[in-house]
Amino acid sequence: MIEKALKGSRGYWAWVALLLVLIGLGISAYARQMSLGLGVTGMGRDISWGVYIAQFTFLVGVAASAVMVVLPYYLHNQKAFSKIVIVGEFLAVSAALMCMLFILADMGRPDRVLNVLRYPSPHSMVFWDVMVLNGYLFINLISGWAVLGAEKKGVPPAPWTRPLIYLSIPWAFSIHTVTAFLFAGLPSRHLWLTAVLAPRFLASAFAAGTAILILLTFILRKVASFDAGQEARNKLAVLSAYAGVANFFLLGTEFFTAFYSNVPQHKQSLQYLYFGLEGHAPFVPWMWLSLIMGLVSVGLLISPSIRRQNSWLIAACVGLVLSIWIDKGVGLVIGGFVPTPLEAIVDYVPTATELSVTLGIWSIGLLVLTVLLKTAIAVKTQE
């Protein structure tokens, strides 16, 4: 089936070539990081995680959001999702792959990564995260591929795919819950030490992930003449809108608890991110952009007459994805380290090396997604 990805238009190959160039850039930056150490990044003793872990966190959400098409299609028999289900599953595969690559890029000793399996430590949330992320990648790849293969042959999918797909539904919730637990169980990082972190992760994931899926259907319609259907898009837009409402509601509760209780430790990170702390305010414009853009986008998506107009739908989806990316892919992880355990305020600026590696990993993910979707669409349109 994969051979179908080897036949494409000029535009297809130009896109693949661009991704390969960016992957090359990423690999050369990673080589520099490998030879000089993680000191070439903006991370340091105080802000000990940066862009890599932040991208990882955002992308776990994207991976988990496949459930927003799998669940309605397989559990509720929503036929509108029949063409988009495979897009969701393959998006999950590429996002889960990027998650693992970001973790590897962040490790000081990636050559020892198998120690996580050699010395399994159930008390560590990382151990569970490695388990569920790998599991999720393979569940989606195997079930998506098998169903697609059956479609190619014109036969019903093998009976074992069904339980596997059902398994992927709770599994999607588990990957993002465990990812939230990576953060929410650390005793003195007060931005993360909150019980609503896991629900908020799920809400923001379902908002941003479904918005990405909607955007993907528009891209596929334009570049591959493959339309997943207006009805599917409309249904996804509603899901995205209400997940967005839940996300901003939960963010609001964080603000209430921190500022009404007036407990300094609970306030400080939020102050640093949204208002600035002791003259340090590098994220303030970004966080307000995220908040305003996110609220406006959710407002647009809620209104039925607006979301039915494709140009508004696209704008709202782009706004919501960017909003959540800033919030989760930048602010949440870095803001959690400020102030430090010794009450210092340290600013973090990613380096060019770090950003190149990040771009490279995104490109690998996009390449895998491109190849998988190219295959899927070729099968579906019987090219």
């Binding site: 995680w49 120690n115 050699r118 003195s188 430790q265």
Partner: protein, 258 residues
């Protein structure tokens, strides 16, 4: 002697030799290099000993940095200055930095400006060991929170988990930044986390930790927290002391007299 018989004898001989070799490995009596069995006779009882320290900040001298210098020298801690790549095992902090949740209004200027020695607390309930995915950091039988530099994957979860900023990562190769190489402790590689080990390499030889030994003002008292008769426990009973961020339930083994 026919060929078969010769083969049999040769194989049997080799087998016997291998057997003696294996036995020599297993039974110390036959060993060519004698194993020091006394090490195994006092097999440590987990939880019996809990090493701890009391820092008397009143005795800590202004401008003196002897303990920091001595510790960092003995453990080959690299010196990257005050950069983001800094590695430190023990250092001086201001009172407000060491006890951010115990700060108060109208603090006496003396306390406000006082230097407080900060190091790993060797918590009885360490959040770092809980977060570690490979048991590369673990709590020893004697309460010391230790590091296995050969197992650490450099994920830095322990650093995010530590509420005291006591852990450092080797962001670059530490060896060129070790000024004077010490033979008392191994150097580390790039990409792993390190921290104070309460001088476990000295304790095993019956010596006090380097910082305690080097303190001219006798500001540091080291001992067994589980032994009610120890000097440390007597001092804890006789003085009003503090632990850093006690509200987190980590049960630090380092105490402070302010």
């Amino acid at each position: 002697m026919n060929q078969q018989r010769r083969d049999f004898l040769r194989k049997a001989g080799l087998g016997a030799l291998a057997g003696i070799g294996a036995a020599a490995g297993m039974l110390p009596l036959f060993a060519l290099e004698k194993t020091d069995m006394t090490v195994f006779t006092d097999k440590p009882v987990p939880g019996k000993v809990r090493w701890g320290m009391l820092v008397d900040t009143r005795k800590c001298r202004e401008g003196c940095n002897e303990c920091v210098v001595r510790c960092h020298h003995d453990h080959n801690v690299p010196d990257f200055g005050k950069s983001k790549n800094e590695v430190k095992w023990i250092w001086k902090s201001r009172y407000e930095e060491a006890f951010p949740t115990a700060s108060k209004q109208f603090q006496s200027p003396d306390v406000e400006n006082r230097n407080v020695l900060t190091l790993c607390n060797h918590c009885a309930e360490p959040p770092c060991t809980r977060a570690c995915p490979t048991e590369a950091t673990f709590r020893r039988w004697d309460g010391i929170v230790s590091m296995d530099y050969h197992r650490c994957i450099g994920c830095r979860f322990c650093m995010a988990a530590c509420p005291y900023g006591s852990r450092s990562f080797n962001w670059q190769d530490p060896r060129p930044a070790v000024k004077e190489l010490s033979a008392t402790y191994p150097t580390r590689e790039r990409g792993v986390v390190e921290k104070c080990n309460f001088c476990s390499e000295r304790l095993v030889k019956g010596q006090l930790p380097a910082c305690v030994e080097s303190c001219a003002g006798n500001a540091l008292t080291f001992g067994d927290l589980n032994d009610p008769g120890s000097e440390l426990r007597k001092m804890l009973a006789a003085n009003e002391t503090m632990q850093r961020k006690p509200e987190l339930g980590t049960l630090p083994s380092v105490f402070y007299i302010i």
